[in-house]
């Protein structure tokens, strides 16, 4: 049994009744031994009826164990039915790659919202991960916020496998639908000049409509800010609320441009907080983001 399987099994053993667990194990065995697709379908749909929908009760050690198996895998918000469905998904035979992908396509194309969330948040755990790129880009186009979030948030798959175009669309859409950006795994590592430009353009659109902009938007921008963006940051520092000023200051601090450093020096308190390590993107996420809905 794979390490992922073992962890999910252990967590479910602690969270559901013996009867429910026995039902799940029986279905797992049938699917693994090549039962008709219909068995997978009806079982996958019926999991909440047998296991319920309570949250998994995971400890800090459980979450660390998940990180050890797959960096970025964070099942802290998973429910028991999601864990159960993931186990059924992992039971599918995958040696015949083409057949496996055909089945997955069929599952994705008939899944309801709860099922889609499981399918997408399980992507980093599935075999043949490199073959799910197109599917993931498709999922990012979903109009259902929790389906989108199952891909974008607390999921290492996009950072590890998406190309820049799909990755940038995902980050921009996260901003657009109001998802918390600090939950995007690999956000800092995958920041790039095109994304910085797209985010700054988006901020201009919002400002034109007299709407606010999440201060987190500046997080992937700092390192790649050009002089036009520095001018934007100058405006935010001069006129923004305190959380916006802090975000702009953090963005300036990450910029290699002398213009950005000069700008930051006009705000010595913020500059000092950053230099002393009191103001970081993590502290910002912890302390400031509750003010932004």
């Amino acid at each position: 049994m794979s390490k992922v399987n073992k962890l999910l099994h252990q967590w479910l053993l602690n969270s559901v009744s013996e009867k429910a667990f026995a039902w799940l194990e029986q279905k797992q065995a049938q699917i693994a031994s090549g039962a008709a697709e219909r068995v997978f379908f009806t079982a996958f749909s019926a999991v909440p009826r047998y296991l319920g929908k309570e949250d998994l009760q995971l400890t800090f050690q459980d979450l660390e164990a998940a990180q050890d198996v797959i960096p970025g895998w964070y099942p802290g918000h998973w429910s028991v039915d999601q864990a159960g469905r993931t186990l059924l998904l992992l039971a599918l035979p995958y040696d015949d790659t083409q057949g496996y992908l055909r089945s997955l396509d069929q599952f994705f194309s008939t899944a309801d919202m709860g099922e889609l969330v499981v399918l997408y948040q399980s992507l980093p755990l599935l075999p043949h991960p490199e073959l799910h790129r197109h599917r993931t880009a498709e999922g990012i186009r979903s109009n259902m916020s929790n389906v989108f979030q199952a891909i974008a948030l607390r999921n290492p798959y996009p950072a590890n496998y998406l190309d820049n175009a799909a990755w940038n669309q995902m980050v921009l859409k996260a901003v657009f639908v109001g998802s918390p950006l600090h939950l995007i795994w690999g956000l800092d590592q995958r920041a790039n000049p095109e994304l910085a430009k797209m985010l700054a353009d988006y901020a201009h659109e919002r400002w034109a409509a007299k709407r606010s902009v999440t201060p987190e938007l500046w997080r992937p921008v700092g390192r790649f800010a050009d002089s036009a963006i520095i001018t934007d940051l100058e405006k935010v520092l001069a006129n923004g609320a305190i959380d916006e000023q802090e975000a702009a200051a953090l963005a300036c601090a990450e910029s290699p441009l002398p213009q950005a450093q000069a700008l930051l020096s006009h705000y010595p308190d913020l500059q000092l907080s950053i230099q002393q390590g009191n103001l970081t993107w993590s502290s910002f996420s912890r302390e400031r983001l509750f003010v932004y809905k």
């Binding site: 019926a46 194309s109 259902m144 916020s145 979030q149 109001g178």
Partner: protein, 321 residues
């Protein structure tokens, strides 16, 4: 623009119904606007059931059915949830389209893929339209599926030759081993109600302008037959129909002296009692929705485009910011 939904007149008061909860257990939301959800929630509708039916024109391939079933269990359910309305559905091959046998055979293969999904409360709406042999064949096959999966059935009674169609539908249900308490017969009128109630089935009535049942007539049906096993719905769809038909009928019943507990039974409790039998629908879904699935309300979404989800008065939407 031609108004599809008769919206509530701004100066018309519905004093009592605004404090009651309603279920509309037969409404085709895929043909309604998001604005309807807003108004429905404001008028006390907490849950809807959307039976799978046709789309105004016949579908030409099974893929259209697949997308339609997917939207019933997926997008439509989500869209409703954003306005504080719980959305359930029934899955089935409708009587009219059963007459395209090549297509019907493929659709029958799709049904098991959807019948077990969350929020699917029955196999339906199935039954007769022209009462052809093909309609009968697929009706019976679907009764078998319902029996096998231990599900409820929602029956569409035909517009033409209704009385005979209703009788034969009930005969078939009994023949295939279904208990009348597991079957809802819909689109009833004064001519069919007696037999349906007498044989122990649930009797639903569609309040639909010009055809089917009117709400003044509905008041008299309840006065005559009481509240047991009677269910009121709107069946609102692409036609000139009213998504507020249930609360408006409730108001009329109260105005005309039907006791409040009877109104509550036929506009809320009976639908809940009938459809909760599958375990896919319960009052806690809307009375305590956060405990059911907090993830569904996790954050923003694209239906709202920046507006707050939930229940706001329609008048708040005059100014578009």
């Amino acid at each position: 623009m031609m108004p599809n939904a008769p919206s509530p007149m701004p100066n018309v008061q519905y004093p009592i119904i605004k404090t009651m909860m309603f279920i509309d257990p037969h409404i085709h939301m895929c043909s309604r606007t998001t604005y309807d959800y807003l108004v429905m929630r404001e008028y006390g509708i907490v849950a809807v059931i959307e039976p799978a039916f046709w789309l105004g024109q016949p579908r030409t391939n099974a893929g259209s059915f697949k997308d339609y079933f997917s939207s019933l269990v997926g997008w439509e359910r989500f869209r409703a949830s954003q306005f504080g309305i719980q959305h359930y559905c029934t899955i089935g091959l409708n009587p009219k389209e059963a007459n395209n046998e090549a297509l019907a055979t493929e659709v029958m293969e799709l049904l098991p893929l959807y019948a077990c999904k969350e929020g699917v409360v029955a196999i339906g709406e199935i039954g007769y339209d022209d009462m052809t042999e093909a309609e009968d064949k697929y009706f019976c096959q679907q009764l078998e599926i319902a029996k096998e999966l231990d599900m409820l059935v929602l029956i569409h009674t035909p517009h033409r030759n209704k009385k005979a169609g209703a009788s034969r539908s009930m005969d078939r249900c009994i023949e295939y081993g279904l208990d009348p308490s597991q079957v809802v017969i819909d689109h009833n009128n004064e001519e069919t109600v007696e037999e349906v109630l007498g044989r122990g089935f649930w009797a639903a009535f569609t309040i639909y302008p010009q055809t089917k049942m009117g709400n003044a007539r509905m008041v008299e049906v309840v006065r005559k037959y009481g509240r047991d096993r009677i269910i009121v719905d709107s069946s609102a769809d692409w036609g000139i129909s009213d998504p507020l038909a249930v609360p408006k009928t409730a108001q009329l019943m109260l105005d005309r002296g039907i006791p409040e507990e009877d109104v509550r039974a036929v506009c809320y409790e009976n639908a809940l009692a009938a459809y909760s039998q599958t375990g896919q629908m319960k009052a806690s879904d809307w009375l305590n929705p956060q405990s059911v699935d907090q993830r569904q309300m996790f954050s923003g979404n694209s239906v709202l485009r920046g507006q707050e989800p939930g229940i706001k008065s329609v008048s708040d939407y005059v100014l578009i910011e």
